[in-house]
């Protein structure tokens, strides 16, 4: 199966490990990932003002490539995924937005035809968690792992369509497929506070610390996340209550494609 891969700015710089692990996993699972040509930064946030069109054009250009090549667009970063999904949804459902984007550039006629998938959805829907289980070299027996979803993959749920925003299960099913024990805890879909980190690091520290303690209190040894900002917030501010890594790390380990020359999260 062929996919167009949109890495985004963070995976090209401070979260290279997430990019590397995803590419190794894709290769091991025979998924063909082609990096999208000349991609531009998605903008990291989806503008909520109706009159902001230009900040969404980078996403539109990526989505048009996916449509024209008839391949699903795959993302890993929670922020990229959020922006791509939101822009795709708006292009499909908002005629004024479609008109506005073509007024910037007539070639940008786009009506939301592309499919946007998160890498986790590729694993579930194209590989299959049962099939994945059979491919593991080193199942993570007995490990207690908690899912940290955060905000951007889940909400708004009618647009994201990732999972039930109040009681998501996809990460837990993934953890179970890898042979580990998923630890459920109440704060797994709460915000890390990242958007306010520059102005108020202390207030945000409180938020992630509560989340980490909630997970540790239920017995989680490790948390997995798809978001470089959640990971940063956890590492910087959670007080070390629990280890945090990208969701790809545990699969790379279980598949035996973890080449270990760089096990930092940078």
């Amino acid at each position: 199966m062929e996919f167009l891969y949109y890495p985004g700015c963070t995976l090209s710089t401070t979260a290279k490990i997430l990019d590397k692990q995803a590419r190794s996993i894709a290769a091991a699972l025979d998924l063909s990932f082609t990096e999208i040509e000349n991609w531009q930064c998605c903008g990291a946030t989806f503008p909520l003002n109706a009159d902001e069109i230009a900040p969404k054009l980078a996403a539109v250009r990526a989505l048009i490539q996916a449509r024209n090549q008839n391949k699903p667009l795959v993302t890993l970063c929670a922020a990229c995924h959020h922006v791509m999904k939101q822009v795709n949804h708006q292009a499909k459902n908002d005629a004024d937005f479609r008109t506005a984007i073509t007024s910037y550039d007539a070639d940008l006629f786009y009506a939301g035809e592309a499919t946007v998938l998160h890498f986790m959805e590729v694993l579930r829907d194209y590989v299959g968690f049962d099939a994945l289980r059979d491919l593991l070299e080193y199942p993570l027996k007995g490990r207690k792992i908690g899912a940290y979803y955060g905000c951007m993959l889940l909400r708004p749920s009618d647009v994201m369509g990732f999972d039930d925003a109040e009681n998501p299960q996809i990460f837990e099913e993934y953890i179970r497929a890898l042979g580990a024990v998923p630890v459920s805890y109440p704060m797994r879909n709460e915000c890390c506070g990242g958007y306010r980190a520059p102005e108020d690091a202390l207030g945000c520290a409180n938020l992630v610390e509560r989340i980490a303690k909630s997970a540790a209190g239920r017995g989680a040894e490790t948390l997995i996340t798809a978001c470089p900002l959640c990971l940063y917030q956890m590492v910087e501010h959670s007080g070390g209550a629990v280890d945090v890594c990208y969701f790809t790390e545990i699969l790379a380990e279980a598949l035996g494609v973890d080449d270990d020359d760089d096990d930092s999260n940078d």
């Binding site: 700015c9 710089t13 990291a44 909520l48 905000c151 909400r155 306010r196 520059p198 938020l207 900002l229």
Partner: protein, 121 residues
């Protein structure tokens, strides 16, 4: 003018109950739609709360009436930024602040871009 269905808000407070930072806000989210409805949008634009909003979408997810307070916060920020026309310096200062912070771990690009976007009109 706003695209948020402010007339549907019944001030039930579920948004504020869901909001992780409402406890620290001068004007918590369950007042936002009412303020705008009563023609007091200006006072919302002056509230500190609109800058504390994390854009986590919890308020919108829990609202039983389909109101999206999170959008009102962004619109109120834009009103302020556009009126005061200090977009560029505001954004630059924020980014400088982030980059110059002595931190144990490299700040993700995602945060730098988001901080710039937040303070651009």
């Amino acid at each position: 003018m706003t695209t948020v269905m402010i007339e549907r808000c019944m001030t039930c407070g579920r948004c504020s109950a869901a909001c992780p930072v409402a406890f620290a806000m001068d004007v918590p989210p369950h007042f936002w739609a009412v303020r705008v409805r009563q023609g007091e949008g200006e006072s919302l634009a002056r509230a500190e709360a609109i800058w504390s909003c994390l854009a986590c979408f919890c308020c919108a997810a829990r609202c039983p009436r389909g109101v999206r307070p999170v959008e009102l916060a962004e619109q109120a920020r834009s009103v302020t930024l556009r009126k005061e026309n200090h977009t560029a310096t505001f954004a630059d200062e924020t980014v400088l602040q982030i980059i110059s912070k002595k931190s144990g771990k490299a700040i993700p690009q995602q945060l730098i871009v988001a901080a710039m976007r937040k303070k651009r009109a």
